[in-house]
Amino acid sequence: MKVGLFVPCYVDQFYPQAGIATLELLEKLGVEVEFPERQTCCGQPMANSGFSHLTGDCDELFTESFAGYDYVVAPSGSCVLHLKEHLHSKKNPSAAEDLRGRIYELVEFLTDILQIKSLKARFPHKVGVHQSCHGLRGLHLSQMSELVAPGFSKPEYLLNFVEGIELISLNRKDECCGFGGTFCVAEEAVSSKMGKDRVSDHVQNGAEYITGADLSCLMHMEGILKRQKSGVKVLHIAEILNAGE
């Protein structure tokens, strides 16, 4: 099985350690992983702002870079959702369509494709899980609190393999953090308020770390935590699943 690793633009630039943890974790699990260097962005920042007509070249590049792999895996739920729903290619339409079905967010790749039943990792801390909206309601990584349906959570399933970890519970288990792409600046007041409220739910319930499958939300919450000079840190779930002593 050959996996193409997609490291979204902002992860590449600001959170390389999440990319590294993803790569190392997959390799530990015996997967052959490559990082095609011509990759850039999934196109979501443009599309969610209403400019999906500008994402054509981005899409071509993505298709070209990843068409040859069995799976594409990325440590970012919202980029993955965008690609699954919107990746198109004029040059190679069937390749893009085919690719859409083979793109996975890291957590779902571990639970659904690799179907892992155990993991060697240790992280003796109190951790709050942030359910990113696109991962939650788009990729169904967990059951959504609005629906009348049996509960489950793929990120928590994986985190429960980690030795020493203590998952805290939240007052609002799946409320949005307010990042929302350009929303975070276009609607500064509401976005910041949402971020503050989300962070305080974790802090009040005793989290030392906030984790999740989407770095964009974590980045937003980190911005707030740092401004508040809080000692609480954010970590991508790959970093916890890959954590040693």
Binding site: C9, D12, Q13, E37, C41
Partner: protein
């Protein structure tokens, strides 16, 4: 410094209005908690019915059927209503609706009337129209009466004065209804309104109500209230006018079983509203009118991506769950219908005036999940964004930035180089701007660029 930006945006846009709303953080907390409480009650009610999702799916399918055969149902409804002795009017737009109401008032030489909750009449600005024509309208739903006294529009379709604190309501009642100064006990205030409105019910000869559902098969319509105001008004009046959007039709009486099971539970978590009144024929000696209103609905029906918004049963659940609505207040949507559903309905009426609304969302998707008729609200918000940009309703500055971003992401070499040379490329991403005018920076720190990017590490380690 950041305020300047807000001022430029003006106070006609959601972001600017939301910014003002957020200046009082305690109040935002209160607003958010109050509506979250309603959402929690909705969850509890939904989770008590194992068949909940099946009910939603069925209601959704019934509404799809209605939209696909709406002309037949409308004619069937009209035919039945006529047999029942009801007068049926058709209004192409808000203006015609208002004129019809006014003509009925004139015919009976009535210049004072009562009205129960009807979002359609808000949409049509009926009160203003009638006021200009010398007609006094008293809104009889308590929440609506409160905002009417405050000379404000409702901020929520089910909870019209949810933005008001009881002390503010106490002051209004002190001024208008003569309650004691400083009185803010909801029990006392409600009693004062009861006495005041009872006098109105007993003296007004014309009552207008909204319609929650209209049954094609029988020509009857159903009005749901908790207060009993629609019934008090219509059963005492000589003339009853019911105004409804053409999308309120459902095929059969038995379909009410689905919709009434969903409506109140979704709206407030009640198992059903106190009154679900089925009006079929005027009472002896009474005149009953139904006004069927289009006002843009047939246009929306023709928009394939957006027609499903017409399935809406106006429960308000999407507002209660919306993290943006809860923290920006209904008035920031500057439209009769606020929140997620308002944001997908409004651009249909006027793309330019409401171009900001589909952007007032993080696309979190909670709205679509609570919607009892399964409207794909957040997908429609996304689709409206595409339409609004294509139609030129988004600022040229933003459009330029987006083009530059698209260009950079299409050029892998330039992207990698740009990243290395100080991460220039990232300046197109909203959270990375070098100066403190960036709204991101107001309450959030920027992410710190590490020593090397992932691709640099990868080159060094794995090549």
């Amino acid at each position: 410094m950041v305020k300047e930006e807000t001022q430029h945006k003006g106070l006609t846009e959601h972001s600017g209005l939301a910014d003002i709303f957020n200046r009082d953080e305690q109040r935002v907390n209160w607003h958010d908690e109050t509506l979250w409480f309603v959402r929690s009650k909705r969850d509890k009610a939904a989770h008590s019915l194992p068949e909940w999702e099946l009910l939603r799916e069925t209601a959704s399918q019934i509404k799809h059927n209605v939209l696909s055969d709406l002309d037949t149902y409308l004619q069937q409804f009209e035919e039945q209503a006529l047999i029942n002795g009801v007068t049926v009017h058709w209004a192409a737009d808000a203006r015609e609706h208002n004129q019809i109401v006014h003509s009925i008032l004139k015919k009976h030489e009535i210049n004072r009337m009562v009205k129960s909750k009807s979002m359609l009449t808000e949409e049509c600005h009926l009160n203003e129209y009638l006021k200009e024509h010398g007609v006094e309208v008293i809104d009889t739903d308590l929440g609506e009466r409160i905002v009417q006294l405050a000379e404000e529009p409702p901020s929520h379709i089910v909870l019209p004065c949810i933005h008001k604190k009881k002390e503010e309501i106490g002051e209004l009642f002190h001024t208008h209804l003569g309650t004691a100064a400083g009185e803010s006990d909801p029990q006392v205030l409600t009693e004062a309104a009861r006495q005041h409105l009872r006098e109105s019910f007993l003296t007004r000869r014309l009552a207008l109500t909204g319609v929650n559902f209209a049954v094609a098969e029988t020509g009857e319509f159903v009005v749901c209230t908790n207060e009993g105001n629609a019934d008090m008004g219509s059963h005492l009046a000589d003339v009853h006018i019911a105004s409804m959007g053409i999308e309120k039709i459902i095929p059969r009486r038995k379909d009410l079983g689905f919709f009434l099971r969903l409506l109140a539970r979704s709206a407030t978590g009640q198992p059903i509203t106190t009154y679900s009144s089925h009006f079929r024929k005027p009472r002896a000696g009474q005149e009953m009118h139904i006004i069927l209103v289009d006002n843009g609905r047939t246009v929306q029906l023709g928009r394939e991506d957006f027609r499903n918004s017409l399935k809406c049963i106006r429960c308000g659940a999407c507002m209660n769950t919306c993290p943006v609505y809860r923290r920006s207040g209904g008035h920031s949507y500057h439209n009769a219908i606020a929140g997620p559903i308002g944001s997908i309905l409004a651009p249909n009426l006027d793309m330019k005036a409401y171009a900001d609304l589909p952007f007032a969302s993080t696309l979190c998707g909670s709205c679509s999940n609570v919607c009892p008729v399964k409207i794909d609200i957040h997908d429609q918000l996304y689709k409206w964004r595409q339409v609004l940009v294509k139609e030129g309703h988004v600022s040229p500055v933003k459009a330029m930035g987006m083009k530059a971003m698209a260009f950079t992401f299409a050029m892998p070499r330039f992207f990698a180089f740009a990243g290395k040379a100080g991460r220039v490329v990232m300046k197109y991403l909203p959270f990375v701007v070098s100066n403190k005018l960036n709204p991101w920076y107001k309450e959030r720190e920027m992410p710190k660029p590490p020593k090397e990017s992932f691709r640099e590490w990868y080159k060094r380690e794995r090549r």
